[in-house]
């Protein structure tokens, strides 16, 4: 009778052997590198150029931000565990680790919200000076990326409950994982460049 050729791109043969979605995600992340590159470059170019305070050394709380950075780093670990779980077919475990990742991500963002409200009370807004301008926009873009990642994680969990995601769909988890690790790596760069490298001001 009829043999059906389905059109799900993950399961078709491809010229490189890589599934289309995976290739697309890598390409997207490469493109996103330039987005963050432009934002970080702007920050670096304007470092030390603010005419008025508050200045970074006056508002930064490195221990605090180190803790929240660690939280985000830990979330990459839980992400890996989630992927391992679905690859073993353990959907329940996968949900746990995905939720943990999302939770850690939300903690990170929550920590940033608290941090920013503190800065705000200390007089640092978007329009106070170049530091406020470049800092909030850079970290804001990153935080938005984290937020989108959290949404994707929670969606995966929800879809696994409705059966839309089954143990066959390791690719979906892998892709979200790629994105999540990227966001994490970008944070490491931001944390180093913005918080850790001293500016003398």
């Amino acid at each position: 009778m009829e043999s059906v050729h389905t059109f799900e791109s993950e399961h078709e043969a491809t010229s490189t052997g890589l599934p289309n979605t995976k290739l697309a995600m890598w390409l997207f992340l490469a493109s996103d590198c330039l987005l963050f590159g432009a934002l970080i470059s702007t920050y670096v170019l304007y470092r030390g150029a603010s005419l008025v305070g508050p200045y970074p050394s006056e508002v930064f709380d490195i221990p605090y931000t180190s803790v929240s950075s660690f939280v985000l780093l830990a979330s990459s670990l839980t992400m890996v565990l989630a992927l391992a779980a679905i690859q073993r077919g353990e959907m329940g475990r996968m949900r746990v680790w995905l939720l943990a990742t999302a939770l850690l991500g939300m903690t990170f963002v929550g920590g940033q919200v608290y941090e920013f409200t503190t800065f705000y009370r200390e007089g640092l807004t978007l329009s106070t000076n170049l530091f406020g301008t470049t800092f909030y926009v850079l970290t804001g873009f990153h935080g938005t990326h984290v937020g989108v990642g959290v949404l994707m994680l929670l969606s995966l969990v929800a879809m696994s409950f409705t059966g839309r995601i089954t143990s066959r769909d390791t690719m979906a988890v892998e892709l979200v994982g790629l994105y999540w690790h990227f966001v994490d790596i970008v944070w490491i760069v931001i944390f180093t460049v913005v918080y850790l490298i001293p500016t003398g001001k």
């Binding site: 009829e2 043999s3 059906v4 050729h5 389905t6 059109f7 799900e8 791109s9 491809t14 010229s15 490189t16 890589l18 289309n20 290739l23 697309a24 390409l27 997207f28 490469a30 493109s31 996103d32 330039l34 987005l35 590159g37 432009a38 934002l39 702007t42 170019l45 304007y46 150029a49 603010s50 005419l51 807004t125 978007l126 329009s127 000076n129 170049l130 301008t133 470049t134 926009v137 969606s155 879809m159 839309r164």
Partner: protein, 632 residues
Amino acid sequence: MATVSVPAEGARGGLLRRPTATTGFWSWITTVDHKRIGILYGITAFAFFLIGGIEALFIRLQLAQPNGKILSASTYNEFFTMHGVTMIFLVVMPLSAAFFNYFIPLQIGARDVAFPRLNAFTYWAFLAGGLFIYSGFFLGGAPNGGWFGYAPLSTVEPGNNMLFYALGLLMTGIASTASAMNLAVTIINMRAPGMTMFRMPVFMWMALVVQLLLAFALPIITVGLFQMLFDRRFGTHFFDPAAGGDPVLWQHMFWLFGHPEVYILVLPAMGIVSEVLPVFARKPLFGYQFVVFSGIAIGFIGFGVWAHHMFAVGLGPVANTAFGISTMIIAVPTGVKIFNWMGTLWKGDIRFTTPMLFAVAFIGQFVVGGLSGVTHAVVPADYQQTDTYYIVAHFHYVLFGGAIFGLFSGVYYWWPKVFGRMLDERIGKLNFWLMVIGFNLTFGPMHILGLQGMPRRIQTYPPTLGLGVWNLVATIGAFIIATSVLIFLLNAIASFRRPRDAAADPWDARTLEWSVSSPPPAYNFEEIPVVHSLDELWHRKYAETEGGIVVPVPAGGAGTDPAHGPGSAGPEGHGAGGHAIHLPGPSYFPVVAALGLPLIGYGVIFHMWMAVAGAIVLLVGVYGWAIEPTSE
């Protein structure tokens, strides 16, 4: 014959019932077929071409004489800004996208692109962005800071005009970025069996380089546009010298994108010319590998020349030297292509059909633009040339005399494949000659005007500078161009009055899209072809001896009958009978998601709640899309 299955009504999952129409208005709104999306891109781009052209005619009317009074200064500034924005972002890019969308799957032997719904989304996002920018005319003022939007003028000039600019270009940028992901993956990953990278048509190579340029250049302008948006709307100081900011940062951001952008604009046309010349000279492209490598080289080096737009900004002799040299370097791979194209003509059997005329004119005119470009690279000379009509002449020679002519060549070449009818050859030639004459009459004299001291972006000039004569000539030329475009329109309309009976391969061409019917069936190929060489179709029709002598392959051989597609009987594919080809189903969600974007845009300008509503619409669209299966 293959049977095509259409998705069943009443899908089980998803937020909206799956659309099912395959004909009629709604079928176009919900289509995910790359060919229909290509047609949508093409028609929309052409409509914008007419609008941008009308803006140009007004500009030329205003400048025809000294102390012109046709347009006020403020309207003039909107018109020249919108002319640039329109032609670059709403005409050349989407027209190239039209060809990419339609022909990438056909030339690589695939049934569709990697992500059909994403493809549809990019079209609707592009349309939304274009309409959004134009809505500025009715909502307080169209963008008026130049297409390049230099700060601080663009961040301090009162009014919402430049908000339409920033937000609108962010939308079209999203469309182009998404499209870049889609098409790059398609070309890299979905080639037919046997089609190695170096058996791909040159047009495919240029398409790939363009997608990668888009992927890496767009993020930079995205950041710049956000910075402009935030400076205007949220009080940031990115380009504010009073707070220590540097207006030149905008220029760096803009040109880091802007220079790769000009290669994004011209490489597709170069790809088209590389397809058309061999077909009508009856010889393969001379030096395929060199042409491919020069395209790649242009892509790479293109990221290293951006500050040649900024020689007069005061970056200092070191920077000016570095960029002067890198600009001279990029002239080399560009020049190489010209010689390769001429090598294709050499000892050919050239038939001057309309597409061929446009392709040859491309070469002639691009050479002019390329040479004036080399004179810009002589940095001290550029201190006189920059910001004058000499530059206007240069880029119109490469973007109009080059890119647009190349795209017109593609239109005439591929029209029968897309619409199943030929365009009339005699009207086509009239179209061509009027356009060549009009174009050169308009932009040739601008070289002189620039050297005689006429700066850019001025709505008028005094009678004492002796600029009147050539300005008048240019205006006359512009109206000749307009006439030629009208003639094209007539040609297009007339073609639809003819029956849809074009042959599959009316030109005796070389690439796979000509192996299927005109227009192609929805599924493109009955059987995915197996590819054995570059110019696969040509080698199925003709065999080549050692010395390059060509003999036709006897009819009845494997896959030689163009009317029925490859593999209808041969050993390459499975038998055609008994297979059901599932195509991706139509969907509402790309349109829904795209609709969110202008809502966000209007919200940012006028009322924040609208932006929130837009974000929700976008999210709903994306979620519905994610939950909905590719096909049912």
